[in-house]
Amino acid sequence: MIAFDNVAKIYPVTKDMRVTAVHGVNLEISAGEFVVVTGRSGSGKTTLLNLAAGLTQPTSGRVLLDGQDLWQMSDRQRSVLRAQKVGFVFQFPSLLPSLTVLENVTLPAIFQPNGARADAGQHARELLEQVGLAPKAGVYPRQLSAGQQQRVVIARALFNQPQVLLADEPTSDLDEQTEHEIMELFAQIHAQTRLTVVLVTHTTQLVSYGTRAVRMAEGQILTAADT
Amino acid sequence: MKINALLLVLLALVISIVPFFTDCSSQGRVLTLQNGRTIPMKCHWTGRAELAVALPLAVVGALLALSKRKETRRFLAIVGAFLGLAAILLPLAFIGVCSSAEMTCKMIMEPVLILAGIVVIAVSGLVLFQSRGPEAVS
């Protein structure tokens, strides 16, 4: 489903200074896998995820999503691919504050090339039901707790029925209990839909939720073993 | 909402104060009757009548700042709109100002009152629009 072929990503910080986020990355993630990527801060986990989603261009190497080289297509084509195949859960609060919960969940519909589905509202409510937040459809994000907001983000990420769900440290701002609830939700979604999940975290204990663990350090993949 | 309320209070001040400085009496012009007595021109009375608009308008503004319920705000907005209309009609129809184009009451007082009245109606309309729908759930 996702393949990294000798990928490196170097960010220019100043005119003379550069940071190598990842280098020599070779990794294949098959459809239906739940991969948990762990590593310390600065190990390149987030960059790996951004590369997988085509949100940043590799300095060298190739990134393939569902067999397509992400950087052999136009920005528009890449955006359409992302809209149709990728759901993203962010580390930071990413709901639009001026939209209600329901409106946030249906937001991805704007980016569908064929327009919004006719039952967008209904579909969104079902997703909110699935994440246990159906009664909160009409409220604004500021009226939700951090854990609730993250559930809404997950519902939003699933709206376009993606093939891949990418989650960047989705539980880093949450307490242990809520973290556990969110991870259970991920596991449940994976079990029900068999979509490919790539979850990045610095908490190694969360590895048990996935089907495969990948460890990163200093921009390189150290191990990639089944859990 | 507080800004709308403040605007209404400011407009009330304008409506009440401007006529005092721009009617013909303030410029030293009065009507002299046959018997030699002097009386103010009608612009003077329009100015005084505007006080009866300005005072309730100031109260509406103050209440608007304090009210939290949409129903109350809608009511205040409607009252405000009517007061704005009254502010316009006093110089235009009900009492009037002097006819000559270059007299201060015609040149300054009347346009100020009309403009203030229009802005009051506009602000009231905005409050009405912002207060539509059911009460917010706390």
């Binding site: 949100l55 930071f92 704007i110 939003r156 376009n160 | 346009p111």
Partner: protein
């Protein structure tokens, strides 16, 4: 949710930023329209005043140009005299097709015998007049009789009265001229016969008598033969008629045209400065806002928004704010200019006429257009910059 809906939500979600941009648009559009209205209004007035006079050349006593222009344009009453024989001399100048005398008078400043104080009166000779008489025949079917007058657009019979009292004499208002935005609007026109009748009656009936010299006229309106050169004829008049100044109509109201020119320059500079500052301010506000919203826009990109979408969203937001602000500014400007038009005239010392509705509509659209262009231009650079940003970089803290 559509792009426009999303833009609207983003606008209401950040009140401060939205208000600043809308206010700038309001200012830009309002100022652009307001200055256009005033400048073009003054221009139209000058043109219409010229047309209303109907003369190719106006001959006035030497040294009286300013006073006569002030009377005709601004309604500042004046009394100037020259010998009535000058009329015959002017008629004899080659190139002159017709010449008609006028006498300039005024009502008293504060007297009970005059319904309207300090009004400019123009007495004309119906036998030789070539402007007012034809217009009257067209409008009311006949010329003015004894005791009848024509008023400018703002002359009216006082409430409850049938006539207007001038120096104790009652005149009947037969018709009103179209508005010109000049002093003509507050002037009254009558035949010489009526004027002399008023003068006769005023001796006993008025607080102070109306004095008209037997042998005096104030101006001569000249119509030229077709093809005659106005400048050459004016020079000839000056040679043949000592003690007068002939003013060619294209040079009429020159002092006011110069004033208008200075005003235009001043306003142009102010407008240019305002536009420039607005572009800078809005550019700054949008830049700051775009920076603040980097993460949010990065999230949209992650959801499948293309660069073009992000760019369009920012421009649509700018456009909506521009239109809302401009519309408010334009409405307020029209209201203010219309309501305070007399104050504008008195303050600027220039005539003013509100444009016809069709012209106003065109100017309104132009004002909206200016605001839209200015705001969109200001938002362009930040929009381009942010839309091109690497989404991963945008989402980093």
């Amino acid at each position: 949710m559509q792009l426009v809906q999303l833009a609207r939500r983003n606008i209401t979600g950040n009140a401060f930023r939205s208000w600043v941009v809308a206010l700038c648009a309001c200012l830009v559009a309002g100022l652009a329209l307001g200055t256009t209205l005033i400048l073009r209004g003054a221009d139209s007035s000058l043109r219409l005043a010229n047309q209303r006079l109907g003369a190719d050349i106006v001959v006035v006593p030497e040294g009286a140009v300013e006073k006569v222009e002030g009377a005709l344009l601004m309604g500042h009453t004046t009394r100037v005299w020259m010998a009535s024989q000058n009329l015959d001399k002017v008629v004899g100048v080659p190139g002159v097709q017709a010449a008609s005398p006028q006498i300039y008078l005024s009502t008293l400043l504060n007297a009970s015998c005059c319904s309207v104080p300090n009004m400019f009166l123009v007495a004309y000779d119906p036998a030789t007049d070539f402007t007012l008489e034809p217009w009257l025949k067209n409008t009311i079917g006949q010329g003015l009789k004894l005791g009848e007058v024509v008023g400018g657009a703002f002359v009216f019979t006082p409430e409850g009265e049938q006539n207007i009292q001038i120096y104790g004499y009652l005149v009947t208002l037969k018709a009103n001229l179209e508005p010109t935005g000049t002093g003509i609007d507050q002037s009254m026109f009558m035949t010489l016969e009526t004027a002399r009748d008023i003068a006769r009656v005023s001796v006993t009936m008025a607080v102070a008598p109306l004095e008209i010299p037997d042998d005096g006229i104030s101006a001569v309106m000249v119509q030229l033969d077709p093809g005659a050169d106005p400048q050459a004829t004016a020079v000839e008049i000056m040679h043949r008629v000592p003690g007068v100044t002939p003013i060619v109509s294209s040079n009429l109201f020159q002092a006011y045209r110069k004033q208008l020119g200075s005003l235009r320059a001043g306003i142009g500079a102010t407008l240019g400065l305002t536009l420039g500052l607005s572009v800078l301010l809005i550019g700054l506000v949008f830049s700051m806002a775009a920076n603040e919203r980097r993460r949010e826009l990065g999230v949209l990109r992650a959801m499948g928004a293309s660069r073009a979408f992000v760019f369009r969203t920012l421009l649509v937001e700018a456009g909506m704010l521009a239109l809302a602000g401009a519309f408010t500014g334009i409405t307020l400007t029209i209201l203010v200019v219309y309501l305070f038009r007399t104050l504008i005239v008195v303050t600027l010392g220039l005539p003013f006429l509100m444009p016809a509705l069709s012209t106003l509509a065109a100017e309104v659209l132009a004002g909206l257009g200016v605001a839209l262009v200015v705001i969109t231009l200001a938002a362009l650079f930040p929009a381009v910059r942010i839309s091109r940003l690497d989404p991963a970089v945008a989402m980093r803290e």
